[in-house]
């Protein structure tokens, strides 16, 4: 393998890596939700991409079809995602862990089919465009203040800024009595119940927060692409999120930031490797890498890079 002979201008490279950074930040926020569910509550949420999809689509539909203000549509879209999370959690959180995993992936796939087939709302596979004009004007002013020519730099700052704030908030939350009950639920549900804790309600709250985080990642993805289509929200997004989570180490917040940065540099870096492969094959190669990362970590280092052995609930 040799490095690509295609020479990127300094400008082009900066633009490229800013794009990678935005994606990594979006996945960071996305994975914060998985972390709360899997790492701290012990519920296996395989439908996180469904919440992302709902957040993005609800925002775009409110702006385009109902002519809401973009800024007002954001909390409304999160509310829709949370409501859906409660709706799916209420009946299915009572299920055994593996059944819950299957139920949530089925939920996410139903959402994708709705995005594909409820064409009056979502334009189906043609997709939605033009929901981001309010953001673009803000982005332009930020670009002006920074006097930079990088179009995606404002989004990069907002994404990682939000990711940073959310990480601090989630860490704080872990230290509260509420957070300690979640861990108790993860470690031993029956013991938590015996202490008079309403385990079901805690799990439901955990899922609702994951839905909130998923919807935030959803808008940011929509702003990043300036376009929404159903195939952006297939289950491989959730599982790429799991690869980030496990790579960084379950129950580690430093791990999420490091995991998402490493995985996305690895995935996007495939473009610079001069292999005799078509674009289609490179796309496939990226998912082979995601799969291999998951298998390799599970086999050889299930605690990831920063996870602590004592926090490992994977064996449970």
């Amino acid at each position: 393998m040799t490095l690509s002979s295609i020479s990127f201008s300094a400008f082009g490279q900066a633009e490229f890596w800013i794009g990678v950074g935005v994606l990594a930040g979006i996945y960071g926020i996305f994975v914060l939700g998985l972390q709360l569910n899997v790492g701290f509550t012990g519920i296996i949420n395989f439908g996180q991409v469904g919440f992302m999809s709902i957040g993005a689509y609800a925002m775009a539909i409110l702006v385009l079809k109902a002519h809401w203000s973009f800024w007002l549509s954001l909390p409304a879209a999160t509310a829709v995602a949370v409501a859906t999370g409660l709706l799916i959690g209420l009946p299915s959180l009572r299920l055994r862990a593996d059944y819950f995993a299957i139920a949530t992936i089925a939920f996410a796939e139903i959402i994708r089919y709705v995005a594909e087939n409820a064409r009056g709302l979502t334009n189906g596979n043609i997709g939605l465009l033009g929901f981001d004009s309010s953001w673009v004007s803000v982005s332009n002013s930020i670009q002006g203040w920074l006097s930079t020519s990088e179009i995606q730099l404002p989004l990069l700052l907002v994404t990682w800024g939000l990711f940073g704030v959310l990480t601090v908030v989630m860490r704080r939350v872990q230290g509260t009595p509420w957070g300690r009950v979640l861990r108790a639920v993860r470690e031993d549900e029956d013991a938590a119940r015996a202490l008079g804790k309403n385990v079901f309600s805690y799990k439901l709250q955990s899922l609702a927060i994951a839905a909130t985080l998923g919807s935030l990642a959803g808008y940011l993805l929509a702003l990043d692409l300036a376009f929404l289509s159903p195939d952006q929200f297939d289950p491989s997004v959730t599982f790429t999120g799991y690869a980030v989570l496990i790579l960084g180490g379950l129950a580690s917040y430093v791990g999420i930031a490091a995991g998402t940065a490493i995985l996305w540099v690895l995935l996007e870096g495939t473009r610079f490797i001069n292999l005799p492969l078509s674009a289609e094959q490179i796309a496939a190669l990226r998912f082979v890498i995601v799969g291999a990362v998951l298998i390799g970590l599970m086999a050889f280092r299930p605690q990831g890079l920063f996870g602590k052995r004592e926090e490992m609930v994977l064996g449970g």
Partner: protein
């Protein structure tokens, strides 16, 4: 007050009746829907969708039986099972189209190679992981990683373009005003014969009994002298072989396939497994045909593009209302 009590008593009797014969109650519910659709939509439309449902049910059932046996014996939810089907379809393509041999040779090759993949993965991946005492989540994530590697590995070699096997997809057979493709009929017959053989094998042979014993209670089976590792290998061989066959049958019945074949079918296979009660081979068989019928019958009521989503909704509803499956006994969960 008296009427309330009478109603309660009646409800109690009903519940006891349903509880005693869940299979019968499930079947009765299903038949009621069938009859309602038959009356509302007419015999021809109903009959035709039933034919389509049986065709898709025949590859759902084959795929689902393997998935459920692996779960039963190993307690492993194998997310890579769908991609075993894809692997089988592409192996058949290599023999049938690239090499140019008859389809029957291609089918046997697909069964053998996919079975071999199942066994190989057991030896190099699952057995070492079990030896480490890995829990449910690591194994789940590993199977997901495996699914990614198989699907995208195939895509790297074969590309994303649509492929088709050398089968006759044009000639159809008509009876009683209903039509079925010649290939589709062969697919249904093959599936029914193979599923019957698998059913008999599980019921009457020593291997089948040991598999069921292991699925029922692994420790007890081991204590009674079942050679666990040998039975697990046989389980993977069977599940892989059935998946390979299901992949080829899908490719033949539908006509075209891509590397996404199995990934797109996986949740439908889960739906079939869960409808029939997870871990129960006979249940998966029934669940497969049931799912095919539910999906196709739904097209009588709503647009056909929703039929896959209807299957997923059936999956969630079954999980919520009867996690042990429509026919399942409580023991199955």
């Amino acid at each position: 007050m008296r009427s309330v009590r009478a109603l309660d008593a009646q409800r109690g009797r009903l519940r006891r009746a349903v509880g005693a014969r869940p299979a019968l109650a499930g079947l009765a519910f299903f038949l009621a829907i069938a009859i309602a659709l038959l009356i509302a939509k007419g015999a021809n439309a109903f009959g035709q969708t039933t034919v389509f449902g049986v065709v898709s049910g025949s590859y759902f059932a084959l795929g689902a039986v393997g998935l459920t046996i692996v779960y039963g014996v190993l307690r492993l939810v194998n997310f890579a099972h769908g991609d075993f089907l894809t692997f089988g379809a592409y192996m058949a393509f290599v023999i049938n189209v690239t090499v140019g041999l008859p389809l029957i040779v291609a089918v046997l090759f697909a069964i053998a190679t996919t079975g071999a993949v199942g066994v190989g993965l057991e030896l190099f991946m699952w057995r070492p992981m079990r030896a480490k005492g890995a829990g449910m989540l690591p194994l789940l994530l590993m199977s997901i990683g495996l699914a990614f590697v198989i699907r995208n590995g195939i895509q790297m070699v074969a590309g994303t373009g649509e492929r088709n096997l050398r089968v006759n997809v044009t000639s159809t057979i008509a009876f009683l005003g209903l039509r079925i493709g010649r290939t589709e009929l062969i697919v249904v017959l093959t599936s029914v014969v193979v599923l019957t053989l698998v059913g008999l094998m599980l019921r009457f042979t020593s291997l089948g009994k040991q598999m069921r014993a292991l699925a029922d209670n692994a420790e007890l089976a081991e204590a009674s002298g079942v050679d666990t590792n040998r039975i697990i290998l046989a389980t993977w061989l069977l599940a892989g072989g059935l998946a390979g066959l299901a992949g080829v049958l899908y490719a033949s019945a539908v006509g075209v396939f891509t590397p996404d074949l199995g990934f797109l079918l996986l949740l439908s296979l889960f739906a079939a497994v869960i409808l029939g009660g997870i871990g129960d081979a006979y249940g998966a068989l029934a669940g497969g045909f049931l799912l095919g019928l539910i999906q196709e019958w739904s097209t009588l009521v709503i647009d056909a593009r929703w039929k896959v989503a209807v299957g997923f909704a059936a999956l969630i509803i079954t999980l919520v209302l009867r996690p042990q499956g429509i026919f399942g006994r409580a023991r199955a969960i």
